[in-house]
Amino acid sequence: MVLGKKKDKQAKAAQAGATNGQSQPSKAMDPSHPDWHKGEDILLDVRNLKMYFPVNSGLLVQRKIADVKAVDDVSFFIRKGETLGLVGESGCGKTTVGRAVLQLYKPTAGEVYFQGQNIAGWSTPQMRPLRRQMQLIFQDPYSSLNPRMTCGSIIGEPLVIHGLSKTKAERRERVAHLLEVVGLNPFMADRYPHEFSGGQRQRIGIARALAVNPSFIVCDEPVSALDVSIQAQVINLLEELQAEFHLTYLFIAHDLSVVRHISDRIAVMYLGHIAEVANRQELYDNPLHPYTQALLSAIPIPDPVIEEKRERIILYGDVPSPLRPPPGCVFHTRCPIAIGACRTAVPELQEVSKDHWVACIRAEGYRTSATALAPASEAKPK
């Protein structure tokens, strides 16, 4: 298998990097998550990531008047070979997290450890060798492929950029192989994107990401633009590729049933913050954050018999603007169980049981002084 081959030097370098990461000085650690990955094989560790987009105004002199806090203090990690699902509604900052992790946006603050190295704020030339390790699959298979390039040259381009193929023949052979891997016919290499259907285009996007033998792929809503029957084909393909090439995924989507299907662990985001992180079964069986509970109950199950019996939590109102996020817990404006303290204290992400993290002072098992601060009269659902 050509794809599976990894240069020894590279592997060693990566290993060295990983050990470096384990011995990072403790000041780089998030104080609220002390030693949260003792002895585990962590590929990506994101700590206190912030991504603000300035809003400028002024006719002649542009002045910054505010920040859109797309991502505000987000921390999570991904183990080698696992899939972390990142789920949330539109505008919650999930795509921004993906892009900031890949340094396509330069984070405002925070650290991004990839294989033990803090890559936050790295310049484009610094990032270039690392791009071979981390790739991105885009949401829209129509706008993410250059209509003037053939499918073969789209998939072959990363090989040229990273100097991975010496001759044209070698490149053609590799492209043909990649096409086969993603379930397309090698003779399709000479076709243009418009000659493919949505699902096939998404396969081309996947082949392009695989071309450089990455270890980590950010999948940004890879199936939301596709029809259900095609969605299943692409999800299965992603799962097969993960098993074959030992890939690690950050799977970003708004559809919780798809995320739950493909992920090992799931992080739920709301308005730039992570509300809850848990493994797929725990999140479904024992959701602790009221937003997760509402999100789960809002997703319909295709079975009328089950649907009849299901209780629904309907959230009132809309998601607030990230330009002026509410103080305290960002969810308190829509939360059915908010108390006074929720309006002032920003809840930190805390591990309430093994691998189950939640940021809600009202969640079961959450230890905080803020709950004690709340007057007893306010401690009931409003």
């Binding site: 509604e89 539109s90 259907s197 699902g199 029809d227 259900v228 029957s229 095609i230 969605q231 299943a232 084909q233 999800i235 299965n236 799962e239 708004h254 559809d255 919780l256 049933s257 798809v258 739950r260 299907h261 493909i262 797929r280 079964q281 479904y284 509402a294 999100l295 789960l296 109950s297 809002a298 997703i299 319909p300 199950i301 295709p302 079975d303 009328p304 018999v305 089950i306 649907e307 629904r312 309907i314 959230l315 009132y316 809309d318 998601v319």
Partner: protein
């Protein structure tokens, strides 16, 4: 129960330079008074065109309804003149479209758009219409309704805009509302709000509801009967319980198996439908699902299956519909 709408052998073709696209090819169904039905299918299966044909909103040329009848309140509305049709549209039949931003006029206030149809169809005075418009916005759950009548569509969020569309569809007390992918453009928590509002109001006013969607989950909760379309034809229809519990067409079965379910207990492999939906130009005289079907036999490739009764009120167009359950079991 009385039928409020009956569609008989409706066919809408598009005449293009490449050939005739049979977007809707002879479909028949009915809706009872106050009933909620769903039309399910993937993009390009003709579900939206079938709704537009009922409303006579298909762009012509290239589209044309070539034959069929749409009987609404005892008359075939395909035979009405354009001015008579305008009294039906928006008045007796309401419509909610997929994209709330493009279906509301961006340069007119919400109040203007709501009062326009009230004054036109119901002959209300401006003052009465204004008051009624405020009530309607209140009804669909828009806070501070009176004041918001002055606002323009861009000042509303996606979910709120869709609520305005529902208010608009309900405004003239229609007998039936056709909702074409009403929540596809919305987030899940907002989706739940909007569907809940739509269903409860339809129940309250006794309005029948046709929901067109690709999301099998949405349908399970809100529809009593489900119609599954593929390549311009109805391939199966029955009560929601029959369709989900005992599907009799391999396409329906495939759709159900290819969506990951939130309540799946362990990580199971999805069972996708292989291949792609057919192009609707020059379809061969055969079952159009046969090329993607796991259970296709020679007969499927040479004859067109007709809708046949499977059980009471449950029809399917498949030569092997009776054996399907066993075939699926053997396959798994």
């Amino acid at each position: 129960m009385a039928k409020v709408l009956e569609v008989k052998d409706l066919a809408t073709y598009f005449f293009t330079a490449d050939g005739v696209v049979k977007a809707v090819d002879g479909i028949s169904y009915h809706v009872d008074e106050g009933e909620s039905i769903a039309i399910v299918g993937e993009s390009g299966c003709g579900k939206s065109v079938s709704a537009l044909s009922v409303m006579r909103l298909v762009a012509s040329p290239p589209g044309r309804t070539v034959h069929g009848e749409v009987v609404f309140e005892g008359q075939d509305i395909l035979k009405l003149s354009e001015s008579e049709m305008r009294h039906v549209r928006g008045n007796r039949i309401g419509m909610v479209f997929q994209e709330p931003m493009t279906s509301l006029n961006p340069v007119l206030s919400i109040g203007y758009q709501l009062t326009e149809s009230l004054m036109l169809h119901l002959g209300m005075t401006r003052v009465d219409a204004r008051e009624r418009a405020g009530e309607l916005l209140n009804l669909v759950g828009i806070p501070d309704a009176e004041r918001r009548l002055k606002d323009y569509p861009h000042q509303f969020s996606g979910g709120m805009r869709q609520r305005v569309m529902i208010a608009l569809a309900l405004s003239c007390n229609p007998k039936i509302i056709i909702a074409d992918e009403p929540t596809t453009a919305l987030d899940v928590t907002i989706q739940a709000q909007v569907l809940e509002v739509m269903k409860s109001l339809a129940d309250e006013f006794g309005t029948a509801l046709i929901m067109i969607t690709h999301n099998l989950g949405v349908v399970a909760r809100y529809a009593q009967r489900v119609i599954v379309m593929y390549a311009g034809k109805i391939i199966e229809s029955g009560s929601a319980k029959q369709i989900y519990g005992d599907p009799r067409h391999p396409y329906t079965l495939g759709l159900l198996k290819s969506v990951p379910r939130l309540d799946e207990s362990r990580k199971e492999k999805l069972d996708p439908i292989e291949g792609l939906p057919p192009l609707l130009i020059n379809l061969p005289a055969a079952c159009s699902f046969a090329p993607r079907c796991k259970y296709a036999i020679d007969k499927c490739r040479s004859e067109v299956p007709q809708l046949e009764m499977a059980t009471d009120g449950h029809v399917s167009a498949c030569f092997r519909s009776k054996e399907l359950a066993q075939l699926a079991k053997a396959h798994a």
